[in-house]
Symmetry: C2
C-alpha cells in the first residue's frame, strides 16, 4: 500500500510535476486516467526515419502519437510542459543492444541528436474498457497486465524488426467479446486484440513466464487470455537493431500526456 | 453430391418456386446468399402477442423481421409471392408440445387463426462474415453450423420461455475476433456472439452432442468454439408452452426472403 499522494492524481500536469520532483515513484496506470499515456522510444536522429517507418508498418503495436524534433526533449503537441528527460518515472538505457542502466531521469544522457517518439499504450484503453463495463481483474487486484514475447514477427524497416510483444488480459467470455467490440474503435491504443485463447498458437509456451516477470498471469477457469499488440515491441526492436544508444520508459512508468481520452463509441 | 440445380440458385423467387414445385429438397444455406433468410414460427392468434413480446425481450435469439396477419400465409413486406404453406422446404408440426409431423408442405394444416412470424437467421450473416474474410470451415466442408441447447434462460413472456439455443462456429482466433467485430453490426442476424471458449460455462457438456444431431461439432486444435444466439430458441419455447398447434421450419430449410443483405460495415 502506497501512501496517499498529495497531488491531484487525475491532472496530467500535476502527475508530471510529482514525477519530476520525485514525489511519485510508482506506476502511472492508475493516474490521470482521462488522458492518453504513451510508450517512450528515444533514438539517435540517424535512425529516426527508419523507426518512424517501422511504426507505420506495425501500427497495432506502435501507434505513433507524437514525435519530437532532433535534440528536443519536448513534444508540445501532446503536453505543453513535458520534459522527457525528467517526467517519466523510470527509463531503460540501451547501448549496442544491451540494457546498461535503469535511471529515474536521463538529463545526463541527453544529446543534441536524440529524437523522441511517443507511442499509444494500452493503459489508456483500459480506462475506456472499464467505462464500457469490461471487468479487468488485474486492475481490481492492483496489478498490471502481463506482457509476452511472441513468435509473431513484425514487418521490418531499416535495422528495426523482430518479434511482436503482446499484453494479456484475463477476461470472461462476455467481457472478451465486449472488449473486442470496444477496442476496435481505438486504433491509437492498439485497436482490437491480435489473438485470444491458446497461447501456444502465438508462441507463448507458459503464461506464468511473462516478459519482465510482472503482471497478472494466472487465469481463472472461466477466463480466456486475450492478447493485444504492445508498445514494448519497440524495446525488442531496439535490442535487435543494436543501436549505439536507445532510451525507453521502464516497465509501467509511461509518458503522461495532456491529450484527453475520448471513450465514446461511434453511434 | 446433389445434382446441379436447373434454376437460378441466387434468385430468391426462383429458389422459392423450386422449393414449391419440389424441384429443390435440400437445405437453403447455399442459396440466394445475397438475401435474408429467416426462421419460421407459426402460432394460433391467441398466442401471437405473447410470442411477439417474447421476441422483443430476447432480440439476440429472436430478431423479428416479419409478422403475418391472422389467417394469412403471406408476408408481402419480405417477399411478394411468398406462400408460407408451400415455400419452405421442410416443416415441424407440434401439438401440445409434441413433435407430431415433419411434412414438406403445410397446406393441409393451415387454419384461419394462424399467425406467422419470420425471425432473422445466421445463414444470412454467414455470407456477410465470408464477405469480410472470415473462414467458415463448416461451409467449406459442405456442412451447417451445429446448434446446442444451453443452460442460459431466456426472458419469459406469457407461456413462452425456456433455454437459449445457440449456433456454434469453429473459428481460428483471428477469424473469431473479426467475426465479433463484423457480426455486432447485424443485430437482425443475431448480432455479436453470446459466448466463446469453454462450452461448459453455458451448460454445453459435450460439443459432439448437438441439437438435432447435425452440423460441424469437431474442433481443430487451432480453433475456438464461438456461440451465437439462435432462432431455434423459438422451437424450445413452443415445446415448453405446449401450444395446441405450432409450426416451424425444419432444420436448415429456411424462409427465403427478397430482402437484400447489406453487408457493408459502418464507415
Amino acid at each position: 500500500m502506497t501512501a496517499m499522494p498529495d497531488f491531484d492524481t487525475q491532472s496530467p500536469a500535476a502527475v508530471r510535476a510529482a514525477i519530476r520532483s520525485g514525489a511519485w515513484r510508482g506506476y502511472t496506470n492508475a493516474l490521470a486516467r482521462g488522458h492518453v499515456q504513451g510508450n517512450l522510444m528515444i533514438v539517435p536522429a540517424a535512425y529516426a526515419d527508419d523507426f518512424a517507418e517501422y511504426c507505420r508498418l506495425n501500427p497495432q503495436a506502435l501507434p505513433l502519437i507524437g514525435r519530437g524534433e532532433p535534440g528536443s526533449p519536448r513534444i508540445r503537441a501532446i503536453a505543453a510542459d513535458l520534459d522527457l528527460r525528467t517526467d517519466v518515472g523510470g527509463y531503460m538505457v540501451f547501448r549496442d543492444g544491451e540494457l546498461v542502466d535503469t535511471p529515474r531521469d536521463i538529463a545526463g544522457e541527453w544529446r543534441e541528436d536524440l529524437v523522441a517518439f511517443v507511442l499509444g499504450c494500452s493503459f489508456s484503453f483500459e480506462a475506456v474498457l472499464q467505462a464500457h463495463g469490461v471487468r479487468l481483474r488485474h486492475l481490481d487486484e492492483g496489478n498490471v497486465s502481463a506482457m509476452y514475447v511472441t513468435a509473431v514477427q513484425t514487418k521490418p524497416a531499416g535495422p528495426f524488426g523482430g518479434p511482436l510483444v503482446v499484453s494479456m488480459r484475463a477476461l470472461r467470455a462476455a467481457d472478451a467479446i465486449r472488449a473486442i467490440t470496444v477496442s476496435q474503435h481505438f486504433p491509437q491504443f492498439h485497436g482490437q486484440p491480435i489473438h485470444l485463447g491458446a497461447p501456444g498458437l502465438i508462441g507463448i509456451e507458459d503464461l506464468s513466464q511473462s516478459y519482465g516477470g510482472h503482471g497478472l498471469t494466472q487465469l481463472h477457469e472461466d477466463e480466456l487470455p486475450v492478447f493485444w499488440a504492445c508498445g514494448a515491441t519497440a524495446q525488442m526492436a531496439a535490442l535487435q537493431a543494436r543501436l549505439p544508444l536507445c532510451i525507453t520508459h521502464h516497465k509501467a512508468h509511461m509518458v503522461v500526456t495532456d491529450l484527453p481520452v475520448d471513450d465514446r463509441l461511434p453511434a
